[in-house]
């Protein structure tokens, strides 16, 4: 592979460090998200677990780990046990393609952006399998909704993420991040801003957060595709959704703000600052909107976001030819 940082040994060390950092970061971002969300609603949010409630996600995680793990009688035992693990692993794997500690990702090659998007699609397949294997009507309805939503928003998201790739003339996330530092052109700002807007909306849908929490709408279908999961499996699923949050924030921060690239501060500090800002944007959206109906969701994806993102790609192309 083109971009392995030295030997297999260093990759292993960096990989382990990344897993630990992502673990901590995902819990931190969950806290940050909940806290920002609470402050926007004029309340305090987690407060008494550790300083300012910082340890709340950790307490939730440990508690879930220690709870009874129920496997329903009718469930497909193997898939039911396996899917939370896979759902947790895939976003973690995808983070290997994003520059975190240095200006280069641990693994990078021409086309890793496409590969990352492919992994994301794989994730939704497993969400559906998780729902299907629990053989609960609520889970299955939630799973079908999740599949519908994630597939619809996959396409505008991919089209939005292609825009920075077009300007940087590369399909590698690392090269795109470097492009922001070395040869960023101001004329790229307008298509990039629009693509950023589309990507944030789509990310919100992919993460199944308000206003796109239709797959887990608790007032209609209990807890959606997660209904049957308890104990350790639920802990893994919650961790997975936190890691997905890190992944989406990192992806958007890298492709639209250069991620780990930046002056003076070390790359990791820039990465942290930029992803935290993106998570804050996510929290704002969550607090501002109420849940959409399914028809509104689909119309939003196919009627608004898809034409908009296609137009955006076209505008970006014309701009590139003119400049």
């Amino acid at each position: 592979m083109a971009g392995l940082v030295g030997s297999a040994y260093t990759v292993a060390v960096y990989g382990l460090a990344l897993i630990v950092v992502v673990g901590i970061l995902s819990l931190f971002f969950e806290w940050f998200d909940r806290k920002a969300f609470a402050r926007l609603q004029n309340r305090y949010g987690p407060l008494h677990t550790g300083p300012s409630g910082l340890l709340q996600p950790l307490a939730d995680f440990i508690k879930l780990l220690s709870k009874e793990d129920i496997t329903p009688e009718a469930a497909d035992k193997l898939l039911f046990a396996l899917s939370p693990v896979v759902i947790c692993t895939i976003p973690l794997l995808t983070l290997f393609f994003i520059p975190v500690f240095s200006k280069e990702a641990i693994v990078f090659f021409e086309g890793d952006l496409i590969f990352a998007l492919f992994l994301a699609t794989l994730l939704y397949l497993f969400v559906f399998i998780a729902a299907w294997s629990s053989t609960n009507p609520f889970s299955i309805v939630g799973g079908v909704r999740a599949a519908l939503q994630l597939m619809s928003y996959e396409i505008p998201l991919a089209l939005a993420l292609i825009v920075p790739a077009m300007f940087a003339k590369s399909l590698s996330i690392t090269t795109i991040a470097k492009w922001f530092e070395t040869s960023f052109q101001p004329y790229a700002l307008v298509p990039l801003a629009l693509a950023f807007f589309i990507a944030v909306v789509c990310a919100q849908a992919e993460l199944e957060r308000v206003p796109f929490d239709i797959p887990e709408a608790e007032s209609e279908i209990v807890a959606g595709w997660q209904t049957e999961f308890s104990g350790r499996k639920l802990a893994l699923l919650r961790l997975a959704s936190d890691i997905e949050l890190v992944l989406m924030a990192a992806l958007i921060a890298t492709l639209f703000f250069g991620g780990a690239a930046g002056p003076w501060l070390p790359p990791f500090a820039w990465f942290l600052i930029k992803t935290t800002i993106v998570v804050f944007v996510f929290a704002n959206i969550r607090a501002l909107f109420a849940r959409f109906r399914i028809d509104q969701l689909l119309r939003g994806a196919w009627g608004i976001l898809l034409p908009l993102s296609m137009l955006n790609v076209f505008v970006a192309y014309v701009l590139m030819q003119m400049m």
């Binding site: 309340r43 305090y44 008494h48 807890a223 209904t227 308890s230």
Partner: protein, 144 residues
């Protein structure tokens, strides 16, 4: 007590997730429970979250009188929750049938069907009383 057990106990105390089950309440208690979950009281400060699925919850908050029709369903919901689980009976009806006592179709309280850990009296109890109920439960956990 080993470090592991201390950690688990800490986590349990800090993260009580509740699920609300309405047996056949007059809706007075339900509204007070909802009021306890509003930003004014902001129980998320203590890590309390309302969950939709019994599989995710630790504390079953029951309101209303238990009629013969709802009793098997209440038991089913209780059995669907993973261990360790706790039950909180909110309101006079849930504690002992309240104004519906001696009705032909009503059992005398939730504890006739499932074990109850905390009783919150009142018709309906104030949100403060409901939060106090959760605090009592947490105190019980701490002592265990």
């Amino acid at each position: 007590m080993g470090l592991r057990n201390r950690l688990i106990k800490w986590a349990r105390i800090k993260s009580p997730w509740i699920i609300h089950f309405d047996c056949s309440s007059c809706n007075g208690c339900d509204i007070e429970i909802v009021a306890a979950l509003t930003p004014r009281y902001d129980v998320e400060r203590f890590g309390i979250l309302l969950r939709g699925s019994p599989r995710h919850a630790d504390i079953l908050v029951v309101s209303g009188s238990v009629s013969h029709q709802v009793a098997p369903r209440l038991r089913r919901i209780y059995e669907q929750m993973p261990e360790p689980k706790f039950v909180m009976a909110v309101g006079a009806c849930a504690c002992g049938a309240g104004v519906f006592r001696d009705c032909y179709n009503v059992l005398e309280g939730v504890d006739k069907v499932i074990p109850v850990d905390v009783y919150v009296p009142g018709c309906p109890p104030k949100p403060e009383a409901i939060i106090q109920g959760v605090v009592e439960l947490i105190e019980k956990l701490k002592a265990a």
